[in-house]
Each structure stands twice: as C-alpha cells, then as structure tokens.
Point group: C2
Amino acid sequence: MTITGEMLIGATALRGNDRPIHAVEAATGQKLEPGFGGGSAADVERACALAWAAFDTYRETSLETRAAFLEACAEAILAIGDELVERACAESGLPRGRIEGERGRTVGQLRLFAATLREGSFLEARIDPALPQRQPLPRADLRLRQIPLGPVAVFGASNFPLAFSVAGGDTAAALAAGCPVIVKAHSAHPGTSELVGRALQSAVATCGLPEGVFSLLFGSGAVVGQGLVADPRIKAVGFTGSRAGGTALMKTAAERAEPIPVYAEMSSINPVFLLPAALEEKAEALGKAFVGSLTMGAGQFCTNPGLVLAVEGPALDRFIAAASEAVAAAAPQVMLTPGILQAYERGTAQLAGSSRVTKLAEGQAAKACTGSAALFSASAADFLADPHLQEEVFGSSSLILHCRDLAEMQALAEKLEGQLTATLHLVEADTEAARALLPTLERRAGRILANGWPTGVEVCHAMVHGGPYPATSDGRSTSVGTLAISRFLRPVCYQDLPAALLPEALRDGNPLGLWRRLDGALGRH
Amino acid sequence: MTITGEMLIGATALRGNDRPIHAVEAATGQKLEPGFGGGSAADVERACALAWAAFDTYRETSLETRAAFLEACAEAILAIGDELVERACAESGLPRGRIEGERGRTVGQLRLFAATLREGSFLEARIDPALPQRQPLPRADLRLRQIPLGPVAVFGASNFPLAFSVAGGDTAAALAAGCPVIVKAHSAHPGTSELVGRALQSAVATCGLPEGVFSLLFGSGAVVGQGLVADPRIKAVGFTGSRAGGTALMKTAAERAEPIPVYAEMSSINPVFLLPAALEEKAEALGKAFVGSLTMGAGQFCTNPGLVLAVEGPALDRFIAAASEAVAAAAPQVMLTPGILQAYERGTAQLAGSSRVTKLAEGQAAKACTGSAALFSASAADFLADPHLQEEVFGSSSLILHCRDLAEMQALAEKLEGQLTATLHLVEADTEAARALLPTLERRAGRILANGWPTGVEVCHAMVHGGPYPATSDGRSTSVGTLAISRFLRPVCYQDLPAALLPEALRDGNPLGLWRRLDGALGRH
C-alpha cells in the first residue's frame, strides 16, 4: 500500500482542499510526507449523506454478514503488514513491540465483536405474547429488540493509533451494532489512519456492503470535527481526548435541534490507595511496580496512575524512596506529539512550582522529543485546597498524597472527581479498610482493581472502561469490551406486527437461535 | 388518612413555608383544601442530604429486601382505600373507573419490578476468570455488575396522578435499581401525591430502610424543580410533561459541574398510517375506532393519535365522514387543569385559524372545565410547509393529512420528529407498503403498532415507552416496562478483587442463582 494523503469517502479516495496536515516523526520532530489535505464542509456533507444512505441497509444485514465484515476488517488490517507497524511507530514514537501488541488488540477486538454478533444476545430480544382472554382488557402481542442509533462520528485518539482510532474500540462497537461510521483521523497519525482506513474501505467492498458504511476524513476540529457532530444525520459520537475537546463536542451535541449522545473519554487521574498493612509488607516492591505502570508508554495512558494515597509514616517513606529511585533511573521516552510534550512539561512545571507540592524525583534528563518521568508529593489537606492539583497531567507524572489516617484518606476519596479506575493495594489485614472505601470507589470509578495497576485494559466481556464525569461524558457506558455495543443501540417495541413484517430476531420459532426473554424468562426460546 | 398539606422529607412531615398550592376540583374549578405549603431551597437541601445518606445502604440491600419493599409500597397504596380514588378523581377530573384502573396499574408496576428484582438479570453479572498462564500476558479476574446511579429526582405528571407520579413508573424503576427517590409533586394533584407519599413513607419505615430512600416535595418549578436537578447529589432525573419544561431541565442538567442524565418524556403526535387496502376495507370502522382512541381520557395521553396519514380518495373520505360523525357526537370531557384546558383551546384555535388547515368536526359544545374534541385536515404539502402543525396539541385534537400517494406518505414520515409511537393500519395487501415504511418508523419511534391504537401502554417486559427526541430527551431508554430499570444503572468492573470484598452477585458459586455471563456465555453459573 502507498500512503497518498487522501481522505476516504465511501468507495472513493480524494484529496482534501483545506490546508494539508503533515505527520511528524515523533522521535525526531521531522515532517513526514505526504501531506493530508484537510476536509471541507462539503466533504463532511458527502460522507454523512453516504452514511445515511447506507444505514437502513447496513443495519438490517444479518448478524453473520456483519460478523464476517468485522473479520474481513481484521484480515485487511493484518494484510497491510509491516508498513503499518513502521508508519505507526514513526508517527507515534511508540516502540515496535507496543504497536505490534496494539495491532493484535485491534484485530482481536474486531473478532470479539464478530463473536458477540454471532451470539446475538445484545439484541435483547423480548417477547410478551398476546393474552386475548385477559380480563378486564386483552394484552397485545409485544416484542422488543435493540436497533442501532444511526451513523456514528468517531474521533481517533492520539495515544492509541490503532486500538482507539480508525478501526478502534468505538468503530468496532458501532459497526457491530449496525451503525455506519465516519472517522475523523487524529492529526498525530494520519498515515496510520489512511492505511487502516483503506483496509476498512476494502473490507466494505469485499463484503458487498453499501459504500457509506465507512468514511475517513482529515481536517480541522472546527470544520470536520464540529461539522460531523452538528450534522443531523449523525446520531452518536465517540471521542477520546482532552476535557476541553470533549466538552466542546458535548456542547455542540446538546445544542442540536435533536441532541445526541456523546461518549467522550476525557480525563482521569486513576487514584491508587496503598492500604496500611500492604504498604508495611511490600513498600519497596510496590514503589518499584508503581513506577513501572507510571512510565509505561511514557505515561500516555488514560489509566495512568496519576495519584497515590497512603497514610503517612515509615512505610510510606520506604515506598517513596523506592519509587523515587525508580523514577530517577527511568530513561526519557519519546512522547506522541510536540503538543503533548509541551502540555506535559507545562503540567509538571506547574506542580513543581506549587507551594503545596514537593518534587520527589525526576527521570533522566530529557532529550528532544522526549519527556522525563516526574514524581511529586503533597499533603491530603493541601491537595483538597487546590483544585488544580486534581487535573490530569498526561504523561509519566504522579502525585503521592500523605494522609494523616484512613479517615482522611476516605474523606479525600469522597472528594475526587469521576475516574476511569481506582486501585487498592491490600493484604488480608486491610480487608476492613478496603470494605469501608469500596462504596466510595464504586461511586467514583468505572473499574476497581486490587493489587494491580490500572494501565492495561483487557478487551473482554466484563471490562468497563468508563466512569462518572469527567472521566467520561456518560458514565452509563464503556468504550472497551463487548458491553460497548450497547452504547450505540436503542430499544424498539413492535405491537401486533404481522409475522411477515417482524424482524427475524423476534419471529416465532426463534429462527436465529437467540437468547430471548419470553414473558420475562430468559431462554433460547 | 387525612391530607394535611405537608411535605414528606425522610421520616418527617413538615409544612413548607412558601406560598401554598391549592388543588382545584377539576370538574368545578373550585379550590380544594388544604393548601400545600411550597418547599424552599433548605427543604431541597434536607431531602438531598437524606437521600445521599441513604444511598450506599439502600443500594446494597438484598434483591429480596428491595422486592419486599416495593410490594409493601403496593400494599400501602391499596390500604389507603377509597380516599385515594376519590381525591384523585376530584383533582384530575378523571372518572372513577379510570382512576381505579390506574391504581391497579401502579400497584402492578411495583409488583412487576419486585419480580424483576428477584429474577436479577438486570444486574448483568459478567465474569471473565483469570487466565494466569495466558501468553504473552496473563489475564486478570474481571467481574462486572450494574450499580445504581444515585438519588433520582422524579417529577409527577399531570395526566397520570398515580401511574406516572409519586409511586409511578420512574419511582418504581429507580427504587428497584437501588436509587433513593425525591419526588416533586405535580401541583395539579397534591392531595393524591400526599396520600401516596405517606404510603411510601410508611413502607420505608416498615421495611426498616433508611429514611432518605423517599421524600416528597411540593413547590415551584424554579425553587424545588430546578433546585433538585442542580443539586450535586442528584444523579438522574425522570420527568413527564411539556417540551418547554423538559428542555429547561435538560439545560440545567447539562450545565452542572457534573452533567447528569435526564429522562424527559415531552411531546409526541403519534402518527397513524392508514394503508390503502385497509382503508378501503374498513374505512368506517377505522374512523369510529380512531375517535375512540382520540377522545379516551379527554385525549390527555402522551400516546394520543394526533396525526393521521392516508392517501386521498373515496376511502379516506369515508374514514373522514365516520370520524367526523363520531367526533361530533363526542361529549365534552373534564380536562385535568384550567391551564391544560386553556392550552388545548389555544392549540385548536390556532389550527382552526390556519389557512392551511380545514376544520372537519368538533365535539359537543364544551361547558366550564371541559374540552370538546376537534378534528382537522390538511394536505401533506401544507403540513410540511408549516412546522407549527407538527406541534403536539395536548387533548382530543387530531389532524388528518391527505397524501397524494404512498411516496408522499413515506416522504412525510421521513420528515416527522421523534415519536413515542407510530401506528400502521394494514391488511395483507398492504404488506409491501408497510415494509417500505417500517425502516422510517423504526428510526422515528419507540413503539410500532399494527391494527391498534397507541393509547394504552402495557406494563410488561417488551414495552418501550420512549423514542427519539423530542418524544423523549434520551431515546436509548423506556419509562414503562421492566427495561426501565436500566436507565438508572451504570456498569462497574472489579479486577482481582478478593472474594471477601466481591459483591454477592459476582461471587464464585453464584450464591444468588443469577443468570450470569461466564467468559461471554449466558447461564445460571
């Protein structure tokens, strides 16, 4: 494949007329060719028109057709071969092993949704048969299924050029649900985006689907991004990025004549609670492992552990010593983009300059394009006194909070904003302390971990990658795992519809062999 | 029981200090005693503090405890006896048979949610066991359940003083989910609200639950209504009412530091499509039955058939003749409130005054406090030319649209706003015409009916009472039926949590006997 700098609108490829975007080699800051011409309002219009035209056909394709399509997407991505890995490494600065792993995750995610389609219970089929003899009034025949919302706009994320971008989690979930997808590529990795986009475009053609099922646009947030969210044919939005970016999309979506759901994953500092007995027993090992999680991928994970809470005392001092030593030894790492590096340096400088914060350690000196890990501490009281200390610093920066006692730790947990994750380190003697914290953590986070680290998000059935605002714009949902398909669905009820018109999922005799709820009882009936 | 005019805040009853609200006897316009003192910001604060204090305890009560509580609510409502029926009839002007039926529905709804709790699959328990040997990385133990969002503010509806008010659908679903509820009573039926509120308050006490599980406030929309929606401890809102009221609450909810979901059911004209062969075969019977649905309960249903579409011709003329005759014979009916009557008269006067609209018939002359049914017609082209004609007129008013052909009918359907329902009348010869319309109707409505009328919403498993904006603020949800519990839930994932800390629903050995998803497979395991 050759990267051309073209957008993919349905079955066509065309060069945008707006000022071209160039990718930058993350490790060197050098401009990569070609330029990617930015899209215009007319390009948004064309992509939306095609997506809308495709919707009714695509959403009624069989479960097997959509499953085979997702598998074809996976195959086509793999078929790009090493060119994809090399380009993604160049654009993101992430090491080859990580990109290869991320490709595996992306492909695995598409295949997992294929299996979810074949299993079919996401349709939530329900049948309450007619009761013509019921007194005082008969009951009609009522049947329910979930249908897709409509075309979805997906915004590629900077930090996962494959798994949260063109063919990432939201795209896979939306396509599985039966929604056409229009991706706005992240300007940090347009070449990677084009390669993956062409793979999806070819899978649409191979599978004989309407061309509007998938489009890929480049361009500005104002024209292409906001243009997509404002278009009346777009019915939901998936976004991973900054809080400012996410809230701007939420505002546009809420102000439409028909407001639509926005699933924006925005900001999380992922508190880690070191409970006393665990800290006493494993302070050094925890300190070292913590820095492993903190510095993984240059800290550029939504689930990076940006806050550590523990009760002050000698055990915490040991943890800090071990963590500081590990941070000091940490090599600088290439960051995704110059903008992200600048924001990281600004964030750590602000922490370092705060009178409430002590700088504990920093990693080896940064060279061009790299960031150094940074570790800070503050008292719980000082943390609460300055709301800025709760802001995410995207990168390998973390803040350790000294709490006077468990009560202060618990009170602080109660004041935290919504989070993607909350982590407990505990041994058996900490059980009661953990039990006291759990209700607060459940109210504050989408995932609660014990004796692990929040980086690393398994793609499976029981995953929740989501959480209360501002971790996400809609805490009722997850962006990772098979439950993510639900975010792009809505229920429709059919009352007394003649058999010839009923969707296959709801027909008598259960032709699809689905799990269905018959008068409320689950079964394959 | 005696109606005192007091609010119920947790276990206490107290009189609000704001200007008292008086109920009005709907049939006479006469003021009913006592006055209901309006709540203040301090009352909102107290109710929210109690609800918040109750939340962690209430949400972890057993499924059986919550089921028994909902049943106790039902029993306590029935135990009020005839006083409740009489007061509700007086305040609403609805006939005794309707109010008795509505009481049965309210009680049945609470009991259905009790059964839903005992069945337990709304928890959506998922377990992906650890895979310690997996290469290249082991998998952690991951478990998911749904937990309640938090305290919910419920706004009583004018048109269902029992089934959509203090102990109505949203309250039942929220309490079932594990959310404390604060109801703002509708000022049209404060006495009914107090009676039902006292029943719920007594059930809370009888069941030994924290007092903050339920509170009932009277007062103004500005102080009590907006105050509740703005309070940071309120995590979701249920509302049934006008589009202006619903959008005002949406705005407040979106502007909070932490935006929250609003489930507002606002406005729907419930289009009815008379397909040609059915119309030819049954024009007169359809005309008569249509008016039966139109005038039921003085047309004061969210699902009232406010729009009828058919292809012009002799069959439609016969339908119109029969419907006009039935409307002309319709007795005037007491309307819920003077305000609703005025809005109805304003709406029908506007239709009558429109140059695009022909008045076909009106019901028998109205007396004080009553409204007369009204029937209008227009061409499809004129309807599309004036967006005001698509606005809901709450009451027994409907507009019949002449379409030139099926293509125009379909084009018009595509232009309709989101609806709660869409109805098809068809016989076998209409199957292809119906098939062509269905995709549009699925995109536009929450429930699609064949050969029936949209009034009458069954409380069951397969019901959807919801639909795209502006029918509701959130088309991903239903306010009626057991699926409504989902609107008050969000998923949480537990990773490697020690067995002692796991919620019972997720423990090994399935102690609750739930349907769970194990590595993706549903079963009672």
